[in-house]
């Protein structure tokens, strides 16, 4: 087991490690050319070696072996991209000495979808359709951050009800996302009941999402200027059911796992991530808070009126896999608190901005008003123009700081859209967690970081 106590305030050692992992430093271990995995095109050049590298049957040995170690115990194994415990299509090249991982290199890009490029071809009205598919466990956060950035560029403020609906939906989404993280994390470590439990509770929230937005995932519900539709009739009843049901079921998780000595023994003091390491790699979200640093964008940079609601930010100090697991359970309770407050304080009024240039008129107005028909047609064919400039907005997604940066050239489509995905930055912590720890802890470490590969690769 790796003892991180020494490293906690030893920034010099940390810096040394950091320099090694900086991929383009010649002294650090490998150069850019040595990380090349060969052709990324499908068999355009039928070079046998390239095909082998591409298909993963041949692994490029670009690790620098320490001189003071014996060679015969070292081997390099490949994990993924098709592996049930890598949360998607993550690929890891790990150098083992016995069963201790000495180095590990995550290989990403197996789910690269070119979404940022596609974002330049869709106008601002269509944008959320694209961004919602990035981090597919928290789609509403992606829509929210895109909408907030667009609204910042135009300089508009959405109505209070729209803000409240946004907070309600995103906090519910945080619960469902954490439930999946707990479920798949449990499954990876071998607690198969956890998988069934997590997805069972998630269904209740997804049912509400389906009722409200029409889809279980990838909703395209939060749009620039408000939300796509008002909450359905009787939504308070559904929320009350969720608020009542989830804490009851979470007790089962506590009984089954958090008080379970086997579970504790497996996860405590495993995969420790210190605050310094989090700073060095830009790791945010539950992983940072589990390492003892109080940082939540909902408190420090409040968005969409979340500062009006009372909630705490749970912070744990251990920084191990168990703490990262526990903090997700605690955050579910806090999100439920917010959801309850939003439910009782839901303001009345319009659910989208009453600006006909930005949001389309309601369907029934089209039959009555020629002007409404024209506005509808204009918005759905051309979209709306956004003034020149650039804007960055960040929100706290279930995995950390989710930011969106848009450069506008004054047309109806973004000139450049970039998303700062929390999973991408969090994944950089994986080598630091896994180095010098047993290979058996690797899966627990990946599960605790909760990377969504759709958000890593985009």
């Amino acid at each position: 087991m790796k003892s991180k106590k020494i490293n906690r305030y030893n920034l010099k050692a940390l810096k040394k490690k950091f320099e090694f992992w900086a991929t383009n430093s010649e002294e650090g271990g490998w150069s850019i050319s040595s990380t090349d995995e060969g052709s990324q095109k499908m068999l355009e050049v039928e070079d046998e070696k390239k095909v082998k590298i591409q298909t993963g049957t041949e692994i490029i040995d670009d690790f620098v072996v320490d001189e003071d170690s014996s060679d015969d115990e070292r081997m390099i194994i490949n994990m993924g991209p098709q592996h049930p415990s890598t949360h998607g299509v993550l690929r890891l090249q790990a150098e083992l000495e016995g069963e201790i991982v000495r180095r590990v290199k995550p290989v990403i890009g197996y789910l690269h979808t070119g979404m940022e490029k596609t974002g330049e071809e869709l106008n601002y009205f269509q944008g959320p359709t694209n961004t919602t598919r990035m981090d597919y466990l928290s789609p509403l956060f992606n829509e929210l951050v895109f909408s907030l950035t667009t609204e910042k560029l135009i300089g508009i403020e959405v109505p209070d009800r729209a803000k409240a609906i946004r907070i309600l939906m995103t906090e519910l989404n945080r619960i469902s996302s954490h439930l999946v993280a707990l479920a798949t994390g449990g499954m990876d470590i071998g607690a198969l009941s956890m998988m069934i439990f997590g997805f069972r509770e998630r269904e209740h929230i997804l049912n509400f999402f389906e009722k409200t937005t029409g889809l279980r995932m990838n909703h395209n519900y939060i749009r620039p200027g408000g939300v796509a539709a008002d909450l359905p009739d009787g939504w308070q009843k559904d929320i009350e059911d969720i608020i009542q049901l989830i804490p009851e079921k979470l007790k089962d998780y506590d009984d089954m796992l958090l008080d379970n000595p086997i579970w504790k023994g497996r996860l405590q003091n495993v995969g420790i991530l210190t605050t310094e390491e989090c700073f060095a790699y830009g790791i945010t979200g539950p992983s940072l808070r589990a390492s003892g640093f109080d940082w939540d964008l909902r408190k420090s940079q409040p968005y969409s009126g979340i500062e009006k609601f009372n909630f705490d930010v749970p912070v744990l100090s251990e920084g191990d896999v168990f703490a990262r697991w526990r903090i997700k359970v605690l955050e579910i309770f806090e999100s439920l608190k917010i959801v309850e407050q939003v439910m009782y304080q839901m303001p009345k009024g319009p659910y989208k901005i009453q600006d006909k240039k930005i949001t389309p008129p309601p369907r029934k107005r089209l039959d009555e008003s020629m002007e409404a028909l024209i506005h509808h047609f204009k918005i759905y064919t051309e979209g709306f123009k956004v003034p020149e400039g650039d804007a960055y907005v960040a929100i706290e997604s279930p995995r950390g700081e989710l930011g969106c940066y848009i450069v506008s050239d004054g047309t109806a489509k973004p000139y450049r859209m970039h998303v700062r995905g929390p999973s991408f930055c969090n994944l950089q912590g994986l080598p630091i967690i896994m180095t010098d720890s047993p290979i058996a802890d690797a899966v627990a470490a990946i599960a605790s970081l909760d990377p969504v590969i759709g958000d890593v690769d985009r």
Partner: protein, 153 residues
């Protein structure tokens, strides 16, 4: 168990086809959003175990069915083909979702425009992502296709 008094007669064709449909093990090939819905289909509420299909195999050697759940990038395509080649015959493929069926909304440099460019697809399940019900409908349609088809394919 059959008592000695009872006789069961069938043709080998029917018996083979029936047995193929009743314990079809999919390989875990979750790629993106659809994988989450595939997992939802396998868990408590929808319960794929009712069709003898809950055993998602991590090894392609033990699997009969590949559910391509999600968008297939150019980088992933050779991996997908290799996993398909490693599966033992007879094998079937379901393209789950718009992206794996046609490329979906992402018509760009990064994605394979439909997984049928790489492997032969038996069933296309529409949706983005298809709900567990849609996936089940796809699976039942595949069962029907196997029951109606030839045993040599």
């Amino acid at each position: 168990m059959f008592t000695p008094d009872n006789i069961l007669t069938t043709t080998i064709d029917k018996a083979v086809r029936w047995s193929r449909t009743q314990s079809m093990w999919p390989v875990t090939f979750g790629l993106a959003c659809c994988a989450i819905e595939m997992m939802a289909a396998g868990s408590a509420k929808y319960d794929l175990a009712r069709y003898g299909m809950e055993v998602f195999r991590a090894s392609p050697r033990q699997a009969d069915l590949m559910i391509v759940a999600g968008r297939v990038s150019q980088k992933m395509a050779p991996v997908l083909r290799q996993v398909y080649d490693q599966m033992a015959d007879p094998k079937w493929v379901i393209a789950m979702g718009a992206c794996s069926s046609t490329g979906g909304m992402f018509n760009n440099y990064a994605l394979v425009q439909g997984v049928d460019h790489i492997v032969p697809v038996d069933i296309y399940v529409p949706g983005c992502p298809p709900g567990p019900q849609s996936l089940m409908h796809g699976i039942l349609t595949l069962h029907q296709k196997i029951m109606d088809g030839e045993i040599n394919r």
